[in-house]
């Protein structure tokens, strides 16, 4: 009977072939390390956030007079409301952690390179959507940090030429962050995850066209690809188990370590907190914003710091396939960049002093410089490595790529010749 139902469906909808091609039989490089688990984990956290968020929204009230109280209602009176809220709050941090690792993996292994540029750019779009969603969600508890964080960030739009002030009012729906801001942020915070779902779908369609990259950076022969199921289903589930253990430690034992104490004070527009800090995942970018003494410059620098990742396919001119594996200088740059992110995060967290501002400015310069030098180091490094000699399989691949390129060029020339 089930067989007949499937057959009936298959005549009308490619169910079996879809499952076979895109899920169970999807060819995946066998040498993927655990760093390749984080895409799946990001998808899992997205579902977790939507699931907990839907239930939180049933008890939450988006109204400046009620929202702070409604959070306490969830924490105290709703059955397992505290669990829902802590899962959602810790989930936001988990989401960024997973995404940052996912991005770091891409940068390290050069997964952004041809033919995966669109994967990288859709991922960049997802990062921006995620940041917007997290930022708007943070206003909803209507605590001091919620209010002042939203005030500071919406204020940045004042840097827009000509209509700066109007845009800030348009975003807030009022002259200050108020009820109109809260209700629209709630509405958008509920909408954005579904846009993220759509963007994830595009990300996955692109993935299934170009397939996964792999640690060697070399395109694998068919024999080195294995079906997704059961190999990567089991590997992803094992990784998920590890993730859930760490996540649960935060949810059950230290949930408040990620919530600023000041956010347990209801928003008070008349009283600025001593020290306004964003959530940890925004700290490096916040540090860059503060490092530039002028508002427009700071906003531009911060904006560029977030979208600079998108330029990687253009910046990386190396002919050696993959990322850091065969390229020691690129590897060094990668680690310096990660270290620089941590320094910026620290600078963003502490109250500004002349000392930390100076450290922040140096780290900001290093942040951007580490991108602008990539074209130069990739060319120099290539020359040095070719002189020193590379593993034969890498050389073979480079030669093959050069041949392909030449062939494409000949074809194009021939086509043009036909037309004229």
């Amino acid at each position: 009977m089930p067989g007949r139902i499937v057959e009936w469906i298959d005549q009308r909808f490619p169910l079996t072939s879809f499952v076979k091609h895109e899920l169970t039989g999807y060819p995946t490089p066998r040498n993927l390390s655990y760093w390749w688990n984080f895409g799946f984990l990001a998808g899992f956290v997205l579902v977790l956030q939507v699931a907990t968020g839907i239930f939180l929204a049933m008890h939450y009230k988006a109204d400046v007079a009620l929202s702070f109280d409604s959070i306490q209602h969830i924490m105290r009176d709703v059955n397992y409301g505290w669990l829902l809220r802590y899962m959602h709050a810790v989930g936001a941090s988990a989401f960024f952690f997973v995404i940052f690792v996912h991005m770091a993996r891409t940068l390290y292994y050069g997964s952004y390179r041809a033919p995966r540029e669109l994967m990288w750019w859709t991922g960049q779009g997802l990062l921006l959507l995620l940041m917007a969603t997290a930022f708007m969600g943070y206003l909803l508890p209507w605590g001091q940090m919620s209010f002042w964080g939203a005030t500071v960030i919406t204020n940045l739009f004042r840097a827009t030429p000509f209509f700066g002030d109007q845009i800030v009012i348009w975003l807030r729906g009022d002259f200050t962050v108020g009820d109109a801001t809260l209700t629209r942020f709630f509405s958008l915070h509920y909408l954005m995850p579904f846009i993220i779902f759509g963007a994830v779908l595009i990300h996955l369609v692109a993935l299934h066209t170009v397939k996964s990259s792999n640690p060697s950076g070399i395109n694998l022969a068919d024999k080195d690809n294995i079906p997704f199921h059961p190999y990567f289903t089991t590997k992803d589930l094992y990784g998920l188990g590890i993730f859930l253990i760490i996540y649960s430690i935060f949810v059950f034992f230290i949930p408040n370590s990620l919530i600023e104490p000041a956010n347990n004070i209801p928003a008070n527009p008349m009283q600025t907190p001593n020290h306004i800090v964003p959530e940890w995942y925004f700290l490096p970018f916040y540090a860059i914003l503060r490092s530039v003494p002028n508002l427009v410059g700071g906003v531009l620098a911060m904006g560029l710091s977030v979208i600079i990742f998108a330029f990687m396919p253009f910046l990386d001119r190396s002919r050696i396939p993959g990322g850091a594996r065969y390229r020691p200088i690129y590897k060094l740059r990668f680690y310096l960049f990660v270290l620089d992110m941590f320094i910026l995060g620290y600078v963003g967290y502490v109250p500004p002093t002349t000392q930390t501002i100076l450290i922040g400015q140096i780290a900001t310069v290093i942040y951007f410089a580490s991108y602008f030098i990539i074209p130069f180091i990739s060319v120099k490094e290539d020359a040095w490595l070719f002189k020193r000699g590379l593993p034969p399989e890498v050389m073979a691949l480079i030669e093959k790529e050069a041949l392909d390129k030449e062939e494409r060029k000949q074809k194009r020339l021939r086509r043009q010749g036909d037309i004229t």
Binding site: R30, D69, Q72, M75, R76, W82, L83, Y86, S93, F97, I226, P230, Y231, T234, K235, L237, Y238, G241, I242, L244, I245, S248, I249, V251, F252, F253, I254, P255, N256, S257, L258, I259, E260, P261, A262, N264, I265, W280, G345, Y346, Y349, V350, P351, T353, Q355
Partner: protein
């Protein structure tokens, strides 16, 4: 992450930035019913005339298992579902102290340092040479030295004040997160379960992958 960051931060920051930050005493919190009830008792006597706990209802105290007679005495003729509202009206309090006394329901969570902050604050009073009292932890405070910690700096009296402060903080900690005990208990089960599950998944993965080659 934030705690981690703080540890890194505290260990490497130069002292100049934090010189005006008072060092907090560490409080050994009690989380048994007896201490929390004692804390409630002290709080109802010493703090409740001015401070409200708007998220706590008399019924919550009963449900937690506190002595029925005590709760009845505290609530007087107010309904069981009424919140612990200060006896003094806010307007009177502003008249008297210059600002409204803050709500205490979330006080422990709302301060950097948590219970240690509130404990140190309660014990942070000292006698100024002109006879008035000051507070090391929060110099701008308008609250009088209600436990007389400034006047009892030694011996048995000092120990008594410390015990009272500890009980109050224990109560306020429970009040700020009433499901904490349940959360921790559930946490051990969840993590225990996940460890078993993950171990099994590891062997499944190993078994499946061993078929390769």
């Amino acid at each position: 992450m934030r705690t981690l960051l703080k540890i890194v931060l505290l260990s490497c920051i130069s002292l100049s930035a934090w010189a005006n930050e008072a060092v907090l005493d560490k409080v050994n919190l009690e989380n048994d019913l007896k201490s929390i009830e004692r804390g409630a008792d002290t709080l109802m006597g010493a703090c409740h005339s001015c401070h409200t706990l708007k998220y706590v209802h008399y019924r919550d105290l009963l449900n937690f298992g506190m002595d029925k007679q005590k709760v009845e005495a505290w609530r007087g003729d107010q309904p069981l579902d009424s919140a612990l509202v200060a006896q003094m009206s806010e307007a009177d309090a502003i008249n008297m102290f210059g600002k409204a006394p803050p709500d205490l329901s979330l006080m422990v969570k709302a301060r950097e340092g948590g219970p240690n902050y509130v404990y140190s604050y309660l014990l942070g009073y000292y006698q100024k040479p002109d006879g008035s009292t000051g507070n090391h932890i929060y110099p701008e405070t308008k609250m009088p030295d209600i436990l007389n910690s400034g006047g009892s700096t030694e011996g048995k009296q000092h120990a008594e004040v410390q015990a009272q402060a500890r009980d109050i903080v224990s109560f306020l900690t429970w009040v700020s997160d009433p499901h904490e005990a349940e959360r921790l208990r559930l946490g051990y089960y969840v993590i225990g379960y996940l460890i078993v599950l993950t171990t099994l998944l590891y062997f499944v993965k190993k078994q499946v992958w061993s078929k390769l080659n």
